[in-house]
Symmetry: C4
Subunit: 258 residues, 4 copies
C-alpha cells in the first residue's frame, strides 16, 4: 500500500499555488486552511491515503466511517491565480511517513504545474502579546524579502518540525518557491497537554495570506469556527484518551490466541 | 517478504460476503468468527502470511510448530450468499503492518468479487447492563439505515482502532460497502490487563449477524467455546509473560558474540 | 540495501541439511553450531548481510573492522548428507528484519535443494536438574515421532521467539521439513541480565543432533570453547554497556549542527 | 522517496579518496571534515537526501529554510589525489536508515572510482591525557600496518556505532580499502548530556590525516572554528530541547481533528 493521491476526475486548472495547513501546534495551520476552504467554498478534488497515518478509523457525527486522510480542495479564481488547499485530520505517524506524504504531495503538485507553495504553521514563543505577529521563512532571499515588505518578521535559526516544515524543505529541493507563515502563539495547553486552538494567531496568519494572494475573505465567522473546532477536539481528545488507555492495556494482553 | 494471501486451490464460489473478526478487546470479533467457522464447518481455503506479525512461532498442543497467520474459511450456501471468514491468531505488530494486511486482504476480496464486508468488534462502554446492545457503523447511509431497522444502535463520533477498523475505512476507499457490528462490553480485565472473553457480547453480535445473513446457527455451545478459549488465553498469557520477561532481559544482554 | 546472501563461489554440494543456531537465550544454539563448524572444519561458503542488523561494526582482536553478518559454513561428507551451518554474531534488530533474514535464508536454501532444517535453541525452564533434557518441536507429526524415538521430549503449547523460531515456521510454510532441538536450561543470568553460556545444555543438544546426523564429534573441547566464549561475551558486554550509555546520551544531544 | 545522491553537474575528477565525518561523539569527525572543506575551499558537488533523516527543517541565520542533508565537497589536487568530503548536519534517524545512507554513499563512490575511504570519529576513553592520541582500525592488515607506522594506536575489540562505523564495514563488504581514525577524547558533556566539541582531539586527527594525504593545512584557525561551532550547537540544543518538549507534548494531544 503506497502513499497515493487519488484525483477522482481531471482537474481543469490554470497555474495554481498550494496552501498547506496540517494539524500542529495550536492548530493554526489547520484552522486557517479549513476556514479558507469553507469561506471560499473550495471544491474537494483529491484525497491522499497512506499506510503512514495512525491505525484508526474515525466515526463521523452521522455515524459513517472514514479513513484518516489528507485532502485537496481547489478554489478557482477568474481574475487571479487558482489555489489548491492541502489539509487533513492527521499528519503521518512516523518520521519516514512524514517525508513520504510531503514528498508524494509535492511530486504531484510539480507534475501539475504548481507555481508556489505556502505553508501555514505556529511559532510557539511562550511570550504574551496583544496582536500576534506573523513570522516567516522562505526558500529564496527574494521570497523572504517580499514577505518582509508585507510586515512578516523573518525567523533566524530554528527548526520547523513535522510535515508543515518538510513541505518547505522538499519544495526547495525540487526547485519550487515556497514560503512559510507562522502565527505567534503562547501555545496554551490543557493540563493534559492538549493545545487550545489559537484563533487570534490564525487570524493574523490569514490576514497576511489573503493580502498576499489578493483574496477577499470575511474574518467574522472565524472565532465561531474556532469555538466549534475546540469542542470537537475536546470530544475527540476524550475518545483518544480512552483508546490510548486501551492500547496500553493491549500491550499487556496476549496478542494472539490459538 | 511481502504480505501475501496464499490460496492453495482455485475457489469455486459465487459472490460472497467477507466477515472479519481478528483478536481485539474482549475477543468479541474473534470468538464470533471462530464460532461461526466451527458451527458452519467452513472450509479453510486461504492463509495470510506477513512479516508484520509479531516475531514468534506457536507450538500447538500436538507439538507441531506454526507461523502466526490469518486465515480464510469459506462457507458455501446453496440457497443464499457464500460467506468468507477472515480470522487469525494475531493482528499486525506495527501501524504500517495493520494497514498493509487489511489492504492486502481487501485487494484480494475485490479481485474475487466480494459483495459486502462485515467487521465484528467490541465497543467498550465501561457501563453495566443486562443484555449487551449491538452498536454499528457503516460506509454508507443506506447501509447504516438498514442496521438501524434491525435494532443496531448507530455510533456517533469515535474511533475504531486496529485492523477491525481499518478494514472498514479501506473498504470505503475501494468502493466496497461495509458495516461494523460492535458488541457492548464492560471490558473486564485481569489485574495484569488481560481481557476476559465476553461471550454474552459475542452472542448479541452473532444474533444480529446471523439475522442479517439469514444463517441458522445453534447458540448453545457458544458459552462452552468461550470457556475453552479463556483457558487457552490464560495459558498463552502465562507463556507470553515469560517470553516478554526474556525479551526485556535480552535488551540488556549483548546482541552479538564475536 | 536488500537483505542478501553473498556466495563468493559456486558451491558443489549434494543435497544438504541446514543447521541453524543464532545467538539467543544461554547461547545454546550459537555455541552448538560454532562448535560443530570448528570441530568439523567446515568451510565458509557464504555471508548474509542486511540493513536489519544493529547499526554497529565490530573491531576484531586483530584490529580489523567487520560488519555484523550471518554466515554459511559447509561440511562435506562423502558417506552421508552434506551439512550447511547458519550462524552469526547477531539476530536482526526489528521484528520485520527477523522475518526478512529468516525468509531470505530459507528462500536461498530451497533454491539450492535443502533437504531438512534443524534449528537449535534454548528452553528456559527455570528448574534445576542434573542432565539437561532436550525438548523438540517439528513441522510434521512424522518428524516429531522420529524425535520422540530418539528421546527428545515433545513441547506442547508455547512460543519460540526470534529467528531460531521463525526459521521453523517459515520452513513449514515453504513445505520444507524442519525440527527444532531445545536444550533445557536454568537460564542463569548476571545481575546485569547477561546470560551465562550453558555448555551442559549445548552438550545435550549436540549429542542428540550428532546422533541424528551420524556425525562423529569429540565433545571434550566444548567446555573450553564455552569458557573462551564466556570471556569474549563479558568483554563485549562491557563495550556494549558503554555504547548503550553513549546512545542514550546521544538521544539527549542535538542530532544536527548547522 | 528513496535515499538519493544528487550530483548537479558532471564531476571531472581523477581517482579520489573519500573522507567522511558525520556528527557524533565530541563532534570530532564533523569538525575535522568541516574544517578541511573550509581551509581547502572544497567545492560543493553533491547532496544526499533521505526520508531517514529526522523530520525537521532548519532555518538558517539568513532566514532561509533547509532540508537536513549530507553533502559532498570535492578538493581537486593537481599534484596528488583528489579528495571527496562527506559531511552533513545529521545522521539518519533509524538503524535501517543509517545502513541505507552509508550504503547509498558507498555505491555512488564505487561507481565513481573511489580509491580509499577515510572515516573520522571519536574514541571516548574517559581518561585524562595531555595530547590526545589517534586510534585506528582498518579493513585490511596492510592498511592497519601503514597506520601503525604513522603512529596510530590500533584498536583491539570494540564497536564503532552509527554511520561513521557502518561506512567502514560496508566498504569492506564492497572490497574498498578503508581506515578509521579515532581521536581520543574524554567525552565531556554538559549536565543535559550535550557533548562539548573536542578541538584538541580533532587537531590530532587532522594532523594525522593531513600527513597521510600530504595536505598542507593551517591549524591555527581550528580553535576559533570549534568555538563558533560550540556556540551554534548551544543555540541549536536549546531550540531542539524546546522542540522535543513540544513533541512529547504532542504525543499527549489528539493527532487528528474531524
Amino acid at each position: 500500500m503506497k502513499s497515493e493521491i487519488k484525483i477522482p476526475k481531471k482537474i481543469e486548472s490554470k497555474e495554481f499555488v498550494l496552501v498547506c495547513g496540517l494539524p500542529g501546534a495550536a492548530y493554526i495551520g489547520k484552522l486557517s486552511v479549513d476556514y479558507l476552504i469553507q469561506q471560499l467554498n473550495a471544491e474537494l478534488v483529491g484525497e491522499v491515503y497512506s499506510k503512514y497515518f495512525p491505525p484508526y478509523v474515525l466515526i463521523r457525527r452521522d455515524g459513517l466511517v472514514e479513513l484518516l486522510r489528507n485532502e485537496l480542495h481547489l478554489h478557482r479564481d477568474e481574475a487571479a491565480v487558482d489555489i489548491m488547499f492541502f489539509s487533513g485530520n492527521s499528519q503521518a505517524f512516523s518520521p519516514e511517513g512524514q517525508y513520504e506524504i510531503a514528498d508524494t504531495l509535492l511530486g504531484w503538485a510539480v507534475d501539475n504545474g504548481v507555481k508556489k507553495v505556502f505553508s501555514l504553521a505556529a511559532y510557539v514563543t511562550g511570550r504574551t502579546f496583544n496582536t500576534p505577529r506573523v513570522y516567516g521563512t522562505a526558500t529564496s532571499s527574494e521570497a523572504l524579502e517580499e514577505l518582509k515588505k508585507k510586515g512578516v518578521v523573518p525567523l533566524d535559526e530554528g527548526i520547523i518540525s513535522g510535515e508543515n516544515g518538510l513541505i518547505m524543505g522538499l519544495a526547495k529541493k525540487r526547485g519550487v518557491e515556497a514560503v512559510c507563515l507562522l502565527g505567534e502563539t503562547m501555545g496554551y495547553q490543557t493540563p493534559a497537554g492538549q493545545y487550545f486552538i489559537d484563533a487570534k494567531a490564525s487570524k493574523s496568519v490569514l490576514t497576511m495570506l489573503t493580502s498576499i494572494l489578493n483574496l477577499k475573505v470575511d474574518m467574522e465567522p472565524l472565532e465561531k469556527q474556532a469555538k466549534e473546532m475546540d469542542d470537537i477536539i475536546a470530544r475527540m481528545a476524550e475518545v483518544e484518551r480512552r483508546i490510548k488507555e486501551e492500547m496500553s492495556e493491549s500491550a499487556k494482553k496476549p496478542s494472539y490466541v490459538t
